[in-house]
Every structure is written in structure tokens, then in C-alpha cells.
Symmetry: C3
Subunit: 438 residues, 3 copies
Amino acid sequence: MLTPEDNELLTRIGPDTPMGAVLRHYWQPALLSSELPDPDGAPLRLRLLGEDLVAFRDTSGRVGLLAANCSHRGAPLCYGRNEEEGLRCVYHGWKYDVHGKCVDMPNEPPASNFKDKVQHTAYLCIERAGVVWTYLGPFSPPPPLPHLEWIDLPPDHYLIAKRVQYCNWVQALEGDIDQSHVSFAHRRLDGGSTGGRREVDRIRAADTHPRFEVLDTDYGVVIGAGREADAASSYWRVTQFLMPFWTMTGPYGENPTRQSRAWLPMDDDMTVTFAVTFHPLRPLTDNEVARMRAGSGAGYVGEGNFLPPTSEPAGAWRPKARRENDYFWTRELQRTRFYSGFPDFWTQDAAMQEGMGRVYDRGKEHLGTSDLGIIRVRQRLLQAAKALRDRRATPPAADHPELYQVRAAAVLLPNGVPWFEATDEQRRVIPGVNQAGV
Amino acid sequence: MLTPEDNELLTRIGPDTPMGAVLRHYWQPALLSSELPDPDGAPLRLRLLGEDLVAFRDTSGRVGLLAANCSHRGAPLCYGRNEEEGLRCVYHGWKYDVHGKCVDMPNEPPASNFKDKVQHTAYLCIERAGVVWTYLGPFSPPPPLPHLEWIDLPPDHYLIAKRVQYCNWVQALEGDIDQSHVSFAHRRLDGGSTGGRREVDRIRAADTHPRFEVLDTDYGVVIGAGREADAASSYWRVTQFLMPFWTMTGPYGENPTRQSRAWLPMDDDMTVTFAVTFHPLRPLTDNEVARMRAGSGAGYVGEGNFLPPTSEPAGAWRPKARRENDYFWTRELQRTRFYSGFPDFWTQDAAMQEGMGRVYDRGKEHLGTSDLGIIRVRQRLLQAAKALRDRRATPPAADHPELYQVRAAAVLLPNGVPWFEATDEQRRVIPGVNQAGV
Amino acid sequence: MLTPEDNELLTRIGPDTPMGAVLRHYWQPALLSSELPDPDGAPLRLRLLGEDLVAFRDTSGRVGLLAANCSHRGAPLCYGRNEEEGLRCVYHGWKYDVHGKCVDMPNEPPASNFKDKVQHTAYLCIERAGVVWTYLGPFSPPPPLPHLEWIDLPPDHYLIAKRVQYCNWVQALEGDIDQSHVSFAHRRLDGGSTGGRREVDRIRAADTHPRFEVLDTDYGVVIGAGREADAASSYWRVTQFLMPFWTMTGPYGENPTRQSRAWLPMDDDMTVTFAVTFHPLRPLTDNEVARMRAGSGAGYVGEGNFLPPTSEPAGAWRPKARRENDYFWTRELQRTRFYSGFPDFWTQDAAMQEGMGRVYDRGKEHLGTSDLGIIRVRQRLLQAAKALRDRRATPPAADHPELYQVRAAAVLLPNGVPWFEATDEQRRVIPGVNQAGV
């Protein structure tokens, strides 16, 4: 339960908010490189942290990310001419390079130095691992990219999925560090899997009230959720929260694929979910890729399951399943196949999170022991916002990219063996090693 | 004409408003029993007095009415599993019975007593006369149901109709205690009836300016509207207003069917109209029922004349005729058949009331002698709100259900005979008697 | 760049705003006479300066413009019966003449003098030159109509076009006194014309940075924009701004057609553009009219290019090309035919102006020498608003209709010859004379 003041502080991320300032200290996975396929191609509207932006790939292939409206008199740059190393407004021909420098101002006299006085808002972009990363923060130069494991992998080792979620980022993020919902929201009634292996499914169905142990880390929070496996041992699933919006949940099986997710605020009311499935040691198989592209697995909407693209920000990532059609929920499915009644894995989460309201009011909730992870993550975020606001303290790990070299884990342990110590190696990124999940 | 302060006081009915507090002292006809046909059937979204709720019928057949969002972390209960005497949230399995008691909390340890500390918002429901009545007020136990005449009748003696109206409840209510509009808004140009008998139609067309006499009663207001019938006699139609939103207008003919209506606020901007047509002494005839189901008569939209149902609150009761299509108004109809130009009886009212704006600003109006009833009803409502707010006075008749045993009336009287005294018996519910209207 | 206070002052035009008070001192070209074709015809919804109104043509052919909601209890008059010299509300039969006098109140006793106490809001209308002009201002009698040149012409000498633009009126107006955008937003890549003659097109393409000289006038502002024509001479295009929202841009060719435009606020967020193309000396040719009706030329959407009419205010003037479909912009068009990528002349302006946001925030802009005209027009408007607000000063030219007898001009002048003096005759309306543009 939060006070109204803390709820606002936690959720609002516009340019003039404390949490907005926190988030701006971190690199944002703003776009897929494939969304800007060609040099001098079509500009793309973007809405990020409450700011309207336009992205483009210039003649040299560099990505620019500019404030959406021209510095001159506010005309929309999304219709601009992307040509000769810059984006040119079609109202009066002002042209900006990827740094926001006004490199041409053809409606002013050639002798004028007015264009040198115009610095258009531009955010630094780096392309890495198929992602256009951008930095909206105060440091120049910015810190290095967070050293997430998949960033170093060859392109065939990972697959990235996106979708729009119509709610505030925090309630979406909270849903991903919530282990107990798996026993309910994702339960199958028809023998299908909840994502885990059969043995894990059995454990989750049998023990629906995991014990939580939560520890602060330099980069965020690590959360152990233990369930009874049998009389003598427990199944511990270890979730990582990395500032400001990264999550990793425990993998399944030996030599497992892994997932890393970000909950990227478009603004206070809309979120882009960003999910990377990767294998540390090998390419994803054709079968794995095909299943994800078909919409199977956490985070994957599937290629045929989006609404027709529009030119609005994130207009390519709007799922067909949405509140207006009850996410294809039916009572018959609820009776026979899916505990929740929602046929798609991702809607089993999204319907719950969007159904809380656009910005969930945490003044009426009742948190239990199963919410210890969520409670701690909120505290870390609020602490970071207050420390930055009140003491100008750099948020955790913002300048320590090496801290992101962690993994989630899942293990079977004899009762009494402490999960944190037991997963010490599993929770680290060790090249060439991919310790078994369960 | 009202001050801005009084207009707000009169119209706003959310949980923290004075008028909202007044309305919560009375039972609300929230749903038809037929909207929740089966035990363990689909939950139903409801919006009532500005609150988002979910209704369900449990295994035993009892109706529950719960706050729409789970007490745990706010997930939407409308997708819940309705099973084994309770509604279970599909996010974490929390289960509530019809009293809002958390009867299962499977994501917490079995030994935990946390679930005993959670009291989910639940409103008491009673089913009577085909209606699910609910009480959102302060008294426990609540007062008995208002003893409206039709509540005691066998099911084949009445028919209930609903529809959504896209405006504040007060301007809709005002329209129903307004007698003078009948001569205009409902006038026919083609010989069709305005709802009354031919003689009444003639009187209304000939005398378009009824004289109003208004009296306070223990339960609300009684309004006499007199029109010249001939040189020696008058037609008096007697309208009842019963706190907080019930209306009864004068019946037509000997041994007449009667109507009782409620104007139920979904929120400040939307109203559900609730109309009961009944005969005190006999079943409605097949012909009467067929005509109402086809959309003929005050309040009846007709079964084919609703938009396709949605799962939104009141999504089954949205008429096709609406502002966006001008309620099927045409100039040709206005020239030849309907004075107003609107072909449906109910749209002749709704178009006027919705056209005032969502919440009508009473600061610019000009009330005449024909508005005496409306003036008095507003005063009673405002008095009740101020008395409750300032002196904690229980609103009129909220705890006196027996006061609702009244009828509307319509009589022909020799000039000089006082209508109030003359209709004394007609205005009372007398079992086995159904005194003639005109 | 404006302060937030000045931006509000400049743009907001509701009944209680300083700029709204300025605009109400001038006649408004509210409707085309052809929008109210017949006596006793259908009433028409109108939204003007933030006010909801209803227009009708009475039995005698006079146009009335009334507040949209009945003075009685606020019912919508747009459904009224237009008959026998007045508009009658269909709720209770109250009837208003074109002066807003309540001429019948049939639901009150005939002896009542209540109707004499009701003065419904009505605005004086005059029909002239195919336009219904209305006056919402304080003076009674109002000043004469502004003596715009085309008002005196025979009907076959002019053609009027309208459309809705989804933004504040000022940013639309600014776009029309902006000369430098012609070289960019309207540039053709395929040899087509930007509206001018071939020689003018060549000059605009060669010299994209006109020199601006701006002078205050009694009626507004006159703006000269000079471009190099050849080594010895310049092309000067002279734009007129006439208070409060009239613009005239320099004509093309010998004995040219001319255009006069108004940017009429429906409210703060929506504008109706009003464009008159006229020839001072002769009827428009069939070819000229056909081209405009097909959607060619500044301001002309073309008859087939509107959305289906609705009964909402300005519902007949909503272009198909709109933000939601990117105004039919394509990258292919941008590459091959139109510098901007927008195929329609008017969308080359509207897309830019609407893309600034509904009410453009002038706090972040960077104005150059090419914006001198815009800067001065804003100053004149702000000065007028402050002078009226603080000193009750009548806005410029509001009571001097003779000042509107001016023309825009376009000339080729030897370098060093001052454009203002050289266009002295061209900038005046001289009957029987239509001095050549360029």
C-alpha cells in the first residue's frame, strides 16, 4: 500500500518528474534496428518517457532520435525528408543531423549564423544486438551500455519481441517479478504447460504459495521463491530485477534458453514490453523461433496477432487481443483449458495488469508474503527517486554496466540449503557455461 | 435556476459527495435477475453511483456485488472464476463470497490468517420481483425494500425495461415529472396516440399549458397538472416523485396498466433508466407484452433496437438511436408524423435530455409555472443532501418503506373540486382495487 | 517565442477571454448562404468562438443565429421546428424569432407575460456576397461590414471554399502570412507549379530565403517578402494581414484572380478556413471554377474529398485527408513529385500546422528573419487584446470598415526601389483596375 504521493512518485515518468529523472540515467532499448531498415528510409514516430520523438537512419546508416517537432516553428518532423546525412523539415527546409545540429537553414540568408544557434533536442543512439539504444540522461559522455548477457551474443542466438501494453509501466513490471501468479493466471486445465517443464508444472500446481526471500543487490533486487518439490527438497526460482526496468525470470530445463525483459514507458499510461529470448551457447533452433513467431511463450504476441500498423508511435505493436474484446477470454476456455480463460500466455498477464486501471492506485491493496519481491522493488525505485531528487545521488548501477552480468536461476535444493549461496555461480554470467535450470 | 454550487450538489453522486450519500440510503434496482441467469454463471460488470462493481450469482444462487478490482493488487474480478460459492480472481486465486469475505487465499501459506484480515467491498443484494436490489448505504441491517406496489405482484403482472441514457440522472428524472412537454415532444401529427386515450390526446392538444399544484409528502412530492377538459371540468394528471429517483405518472383508461420508473445513476454522466409496466389485478396480455417488446410505449426501446452487447457496464442496454445518428430524427417525420421529428417515444425524451449536455448547467434556465414540480423536486433533493451533510439527518422515507405504497392518478373533475382530496383513494395502493384513470 | 501567458492570451478565444473579446468586435463570416438554402429549412448546428449555436432561415428568408440550447430548460434547438417566422423548441414549444425574442410560450398560460422576460441569446446576421455574417460583439448597432473587395462583386466573380482544420486558429493564420514556406512545403519536383507562374516558381526555387520588411497599418500589417529575380531586380510579394484573421497573399500573372482568406475559430482547438477566390473585373471562367471544385489550388479541398456530412458543427467540411491517414503522404510522392510528400496543396499547409499540436506552445520555437511577419502579427493581436482588456480600447479597424479596401500585390522591381512605395496603387482597391501581379 502506498500513499498517493508515493504512488505518483513511483509511476510518473515525464521529463519533470523525479522518477523520470531516474529512468533517464539509464539506456533505453528504444527500437529494434529492423524498425529502421534502410539509410535515408522513412522516419519513425516514437513516444518514450512521455516525450514525442522521431527516429531516422541517415545516409551513413547512423540512427538519429530527435524531438518530434521542428525547433523553428514546431512543424512535425515525422514527415521530413531523410536525405544527405540529415532529416529535413518539409515546412521550411531546416535540416538536422543525428546530433540535432541544424546543418541547413535554407529560408534564412546564407550569411546568417542563426542556424549555429539552434541546438535541436537529440538523444544519442547506439546500435547493439539488434537494438537502437538511446540515452536521455544528464551525463556526457553517457555511461556504457548495461552489459546484459545477450548483448554479446551472435544475432542467431536471440529473438526480440515487442508489444504495447495499455497501462503504466510499474504495474506491468510488478507482474513480471510476481512468482505466485504463475500457479493461477498461467495454469492449464488441459495438461498443457505453463511454460515450465512437466515437473515444474506439477510443483506449481501442488504448492501454490511460494516462500519469498528478497535481497538487495548493487543493481536492484534478487528474489527467491521457494516451493515444495517433495518431502525433502524445494524448487527455488530466482528472479532478477535490474534497475530501472529489467527483469529476468528463472529458466527451464538443462542448458536452457533464457529471457530478459524490459518494461519501457511510452508515457505514464502506455508501456512497450521488450522481451529477449536467447540461448547463451547456441543459435535458437528453427523450431524455437517458429514457435515464438507463432505467438507461443511468454511475451510473444505472434506475427499475425497484431492490428494493422499505423504511423502512430508503436503503431506496429498493438495486439489484436485487447480490453475491448476481452482479450478473447471466454467462459468455455476457462472451464476447459485455461484457468484464467485467456487463451494467450501474454494476455493472462496483460489483462490483469491493464484491468487495474491505466495508473493503478496502490492505496487500497493488501500485500501478503507473496508480494515481498514487489514491495522491495518499489522501495528501491522510490529510494532512487528520492535520493536523486533530494541529494542528486546517481541511481544504482546507472554508471556500472558490469553489474548487469547476472542471470536468473532455478534449482532443486535439499531443504535447509540456502538458495542464494547455492545459486551463486548460476546467477553470474560465465562465458561458455549455461548451468541447468530445472 | 441554480447556483453552480447547488447544481454540483444536486447532480454529483460519487462516493464522496453529499448527494451520493443521500442516494446510498436507498435500495438500488441494480440488475434484472435475468441478467444473472445461472448459478456459477458469467460475472457481470456494473457501474453504479460512480463505483465499478462486479456482480455474480454463486453456486447456491445468491447474488454477490463486489468492488470490481481485487483487494490484493487490483486485478479485475470480471474475468474471475465463479465457482463453489464464490468468485475467484484469476491473477492469484483469491476468492470472495457474496459478503466480500476472502474465503481462500491459495498463494499465501495455509497457516496464514491474512485472508481473515481482508474484507473486500461487497454490497448486500436481495432478489425480489425479478430485480436484484442492492444497498450501498450506512445502515446495518439496511432498511426493508421500498414497498412499491409491483413488488408484490406475480411475475406475469409486470414487465421491466432498461436502457442507458447518456446524461446525468437529474435531467432525466426532471423530464419524467414534467407534464407540459407531453403536448409537444410527444404530440402526433398523424392521428397516432401520445400514449393516452383519444380523449386525453384531444385535451392535451387543446390545452397545452397545464396548471400545476405541488405538495410535499413524506416520501417526496406529489404534483397535480390540470388541463381544461371542457367548459365545466378539468383533466388532472397526478405525478408522484418518491425519493430518491422514483417516478409514477398518471395512468390511462379504466382499470389501467401502470408504470413506475427509476433513474439510476451509473455515474455523473450516465444513467440507466428502469421502467416497470404492471397491472395490479391481472397478467399483462400477450398483446401488451408484444407491443412493449417491439419498442412501443414510454421507456421501451424494443428488443431489436439495441446495439450489439458488450462486456462494458450496461453494454447490453445501449440503444441504436443515439446522438451520433440524431436519434433517427428527420425533417420529413417532423413535417408529417411526429411534432418532434423523432420516431420513437423514448427518444422524444432522451434527445432533449441528452442534448442539454452531459451534466446540465442550471445557471441559465428560465423556469415558469409549468416547472413547479421540477422546482420542488430539486428542492427536496437539495434539502435532503444538505440535511444529511450538515445534520446527519436520514433522508426522507429511506427507513420507511411503507410510504412507497402510492399510485399516480388521472381524473376528470368538475372545476373547483380539489384534485388532491378527490384522488385520495386513487393515490393509495388498495389490494384488489385499481381505480380508473381517464 | 512567447511566454506561456502570452501564448494563452494569443490563442484562447472563448467568451470570457481577452482575445475572444477582440474577435467579437469584428464581423464573422459564419456560414455560406447556401448552407441555409430554404426558408423554414433545416436548422444548422454551428460552433463559433467557443459558443454552440444554431442557425436557421425563417419563413421570410431572414437568418437567425441563436444559442444552441433553449432558454427554458436547455433542450437542443437544432431539432427545432423552423416555422412561421421562428424556431420552435420541440420539448415545450417555446419559439424564438431571429432576434432571440420569445414569441410563443404555449406551455404557459396565455395571460402570462413570462415570455416577454425571456431574451434568448441571438446574434445579428447579415447576408452579403453569399455569406452569412454575424456579429457577436458589444456595439449596438454594430459597425458596418468590413469593406473587403469581393463583397461588392457579382456572384459569378468569386468562389468560396471552406474546410475544418483541427488546430488553433493562430497557427493556421501564421501559416498563411509565412512566405518562405512556399519554397519548401509547396515545391514541386515534377515540373508542376506551386501555384505561381513558371517564372515565379523559378525565382522561389532559386532564392529560398526572402528578405522581409514589415509595416504596421491602420488595419493590421503589410509584409513585403523580396527574392532575387536576377542580378538587377527582385520579386516582391506583398501579404496583407487585416484584423483579426483576414489574409491576402500576392496574386499571380497579369490581370490576376485574387484570394482573400479568413481563419475562423470554432473554438480553441478547431478552425474553419474560409477562402474566397475572386476576379475584380470579370466572372471566373468555367475552367477556373472546375479546377477549384476539383480540389486544385490553395484552400480547395475539392468536392469529392470531404468525409460524409454529419449534423455536428462543420460536419460538412471535414476533409478525408487527415492526421489519421497521414494526409495521404507517401515517401514515394516525396521522392518523385512533391517536396513535402503530400499530394494536395492544402494538406502541405494543414499537415504542418496540425502537427504542431492542437494549441501550439510557442515557448520553444526559434524565429528567424523569415518570421518577421509572423512576429509582427502576433504583436498586433496581443497589443489589441491587452489594450481592450486594460484600457477598453476598441481593436484596430473594428469600426473602420473602409480600411479593408486593400489588395495584396506582387511585383518585379529594380534593386533599390522600395516595394512599399512602388506598390502604393496596387495595394489599393481601385474600381475597374486590376494591376498586374507577376
